[in-house]
């Protein structure tokens, strides 16, 4: 699948107004969305690499090159995304084993505890945006897959991905025809205390999260997903639709192609 994107930076003071404008434009209420996003990075498994290609071994060299490429090429950052609710933040962890025992427990009435074991995850792979496309939209290859619930680090490790960091994305989604509009910002966990060797098992209170962008500005992302990226006609229609949206929102925000290298997911 391919994804066509336009981005815009939205200052904090404009956020509320833009929400209303988008609600009017799309004739729908904003769908609030909170996501945990974990970033994983592919790493080289020791022992699988460093097959050096000698200059003399021409024939074998070719095969080795291919092997090398298979093993070392395609090292990417990937994201693991899990939806959360605001009530999950600051909730007491369900003391995992005792969950069944304390069914009669009175504390459970207040708010259902956040259970890391039941956290659903989705793997989202994004390629680096295509280079040298003539149309002024960001286009990239994408794929998503549902992952098992619960602790995700060990399966990811088994596939050769190591945990890098995690953050929370907070925002509102609108849908306009085939365009998905996501007005969002990045929230960071409070630093200190539990430092990152893996995803957090419990979430801090929502208030304690701080926006990555200190002024609280938002990012507006308009995306169209195209099933068959090889279909030039389809891709062109999709970018035409995005341009249409850009025209419509011209007086409010300036939607633009993102800097390609800022979306570079290749792991060096």
């Amino acid at each position: 699948m391919h994804e066509l994107l336009l981005f815009a930076s939205v200052p904090a003071h404009q956020h509320h107004e833009l929400l209303q404008q988008l609600a009017g434009l799309t004739a729908m209420q904003p769908r609030h969305r909170l996501e945990r996003r974990l970033i994983f990075k592919a790493y080289r498994k020791p022992g699988l690499m460093n097959t050096r290609v000698g200059a003399s071994q021409d024939l074998q060299g070719l095969e080795l090159q291919r092997l090398n490429k298979m093993l070392n090429g395609g090292m990417f950052y990937t994201q693991v995304v899990g939806p959360v609710a605001e009530t999950d933040f600051g909730a007491k962890p369900s003391s995992s084993g005792d969950a069944h025992v304390s069914i009669s427990g009175l504390e459970d009435q207040s708010s259902p505890p956040y259970s890391y074991e039941d956290q659903p995850w989705k793997l989202e792979f994004r390629d680096i945006p295509e280079a040298g496309t003539r149309s002024a939209v960001t286009a990239r290859l994408m794929a998503s897959a549902t992952l098992p619930k619960g602790d995700i680090t060990s399966p990811m490790n088994a596939w050769g991905y190591s945990f890098i960091t995690e953050y929370v994305v907070e925002g509102d989604v609108f849908v306009l025809n085939d365009i998905v509009i996501f007005l969002h910002r990045v929230l960071l966990y409070p630093t200190g205390a539990q430092e990152s060797h893996g995803p957090r098992r419990q979430l801090p209170a929502y208030r304690e999260l701080s926006p990555l962008e200190r002024t609280g500005s938002y990012v507006l992302q308009a995306a169209i997903t195209v099933q068959d990226g090889g279909n030039q006609e389809m891709m062109r229609t999709a970018s035409q639709h995005l341009f249409g949206l850009r025209e419509q929102l011209k007086s409010a925000v300036r939607l633009e192609q993102a800097d390609r290298l800022s979306l570079d997911t290749r792991a060096k």
Binding site: F7, S9, Y77, T215, V219, R254, A258, L263, D264
Partner: protein
């Protein structure tokens, strides 16, 4: 039956030319409607319509100018006409027709009916007379203005909505709009603790001059923004850095 003189032939030839022009412009309009997808822009449609109506005008002028001649001219086949060839016969039959083609007759009847109903409406008081029209134009602006003054243009709800009960009014957003005029009800449950001022802000947006992505905003109603002094602050971290963080976790400022 005398034969035609030069002038008369010229007149006939002219009518032929103009009819050809008309059919051409009609045909081009039809093809452009049929073939271009999406439909041609309205400007081109309009210019084509103008051309056609001009054609019609010249034809109608021409026909009425030469009415005497054209009403009296009759066609008849010359002895030298090669009527043995069947294709020629078709043309001959067309030319010798004294009645209109049935299809054409339908069109004409339809046109006549439309025209007569229009003129009937004008004549018999269905439409407005000149006098009534100008009276209407004089009356309307004053009345509209008075109607407008009667309304209170601030606030979130209209009088009708307020009378029906503002709880049921569907507004654009889920946040609770508080009604300025009756403070006694509906104030308590403003969710998320957002005590926002509801006046609309008039925001002018312009491209920031010079380098850098982003926009600059002029807020007319300066201190209506919610809560603790949210000022007009341009984002500190550029969009690129945010996206980079979102994809690779590289903290902005240190790469």
């Amino acid at each position: 039956m005398s034969s035609l003189n030069q002038d008369q032939i010229k007149t006939l030839e002219q009518s032929r030319q103009r009819l050809i022009q008309l059919t051409h412009s009609l045909a081009s309009l039809i093809t452009s409607l049929n073939q271009s997808d999406p439909l041609p822009s309205w400007t081109s449609l309009q210019s084509q319509a103008t051309i056609i109506s001009n054609n019609l005008l010249t034809i109608s002028d021409h026909l009425s100018d030469n009415r005497d001649l054209l009403a009296n001219v009759v066609a008849y086949p010359d002895a030298s006409y090669p009527s043995r060839v069947p294709t020629n016969n078709v043309a001959l039959e067309q030319v010798l027709r004294t009645k209109l083609d049935p299809r054409v007759e339908d069109w004409v009847a339809r046109g006549r009916r439309a025209g007569s109903s229009d003129s009937a409406a004008l004549g018999h008081g269905q439409g407005l007379s000149e006098q009534a029209l100008s009276d209407l134009w004089h009356w309307a602006p004053v009345e509209a203005n008075q109607e407008a003054r009667r309304r209170n243009w601030g606030g979130n709800f209209t009088l009708e909505e307020r009378e029906m009960g503002i709880e049921k009014v569907v507004t654009g957003l889920t946040r609770v709009l508080d009604d300025d005029d009756d403070d006694d009800e509906d104030q308590s449950d403003s969710e998320e603790g957002e005590g926002e001022a509801d006046e609309m802000e008039i925001v002018g947006v312009r491209r920031r001059s010079g380098a850098g992505a982003g926009l600059e905003f002029d807020i007319a109603a300066a201190n209506n923004t919610p809560g603790a002094g949210t000022k007009v602050v341009a984002p500190v971290v550029p969009l690129e850095e945010i996206l980079r963080f979102m994809t690779t976790g590289a903290v902005p400022g240190q790469r």
